[in-house]
Symmetry: C2
Subunit: 203 residues, 2 copies
Amino acid sequence: MLRLYDSRLSGNAWKVRILLTQLGLPFERVTLDLAKGATSDPAFRAKSRFARVPVLELEDGRTIVESAAIMFYLAEGTPLLPDDRFLRAEVMSWLTFEQADLLRALALPRFYHLRGIGDQMAGRIADFQEAAYPALQKAEAWLSTHDWLVDERYTIADIGLFGYVSMAHQGGYEMQRFPSIDAWIARVKAQPGWVSLVEEAKA
Amino acid sequence: MLRLYDSRLSGNAWKVRILLTQLGLPFERVTLDLAKGATSDPAFRAKSRFARVPVLELEDGRTIVESAAIMFYLAEGTPLLPDDRFLRAEVMSWLTFEQADLLRALALPRFYHLRGIGDQMAGRIADFQEAAYPALQKAEAWLSTHDWLVDERYTIADIGLFGYVSMAHQGGYEMQRFPSIDAWIARVKAQPGWVSLVEEAKA
């Protein structure tokens, strides 16, 4: 069975979990406790050359790291990744844009706030926001005229952008500036098989 | 003919130019003057949804943005991108690692120094270096036991990591800390068809 190493709050690992669920692939979930330094453990480092989650372990024991690489691997041959060479490049362009321009700038302010050190890190958060607001505006512009990022249908590009963008407000981002992103987030969440980051409390 | 929009000093565009040359693909080069705001021009924005270089324009007028996406597109079916699904994921993992962990942290200090505002931006440069040194150490660890990043041969993963890493010293990084990276940079530069960022002065 596939095995996914994740952590409770990693947005990158969440993307992979959404995809695995939507593809109907059974997997074992191994949730690491990052606060206890689980990613520094030599046994984990042997699976993850970048010492972080997510890691997908295949049935033969080989591992794949980096959420975009894992998603491309898993989605191959499914409706969530186009076969067409140009459209695949489109998917990859959104995935690398998110990793280069948004990932750290959205994830780290969220992390600082969750750890209660948002005030202490205010200067760094301001630097991140200065860089990320224009990038969010580019996504907003695209989504103001498109329902989805690529080929007018839901693909792994949407999952890749969705992860941290949907949690950006937790890092102090004023997401009400971006109504088209907001509407797209609702469309992503409405996709069959979508799963929340943390399980909702049972009623 | 393929057309590459680049700028004189963009490392991401340089990667594409190295690849096009090594693949023997004829292309027209359109070098934008970023200081004059060329990427804000509406005609260019129509080609580049993220308003930056590189952009690859295909013969039918469609454009591909983001260096990793362009490289995957161009290298398809060539020795510079493995056919095997797992190895392709390995390539992508290095390309996204570079974009997420190194690109901005290496490129922006370099930019500040080239513009003569390195002292003014010292605090921000220190933040970038704090984040990027551990990432460089991960690449160093890999390259201390491997000649190349993927499949023990030269691929677009190497080109992707090479671009900004080879220029990191221009941003004040002490690259003598990383002897295995240094040796790998020499191997990349020795590949047939490699081209320098700026043409060397003719003797």
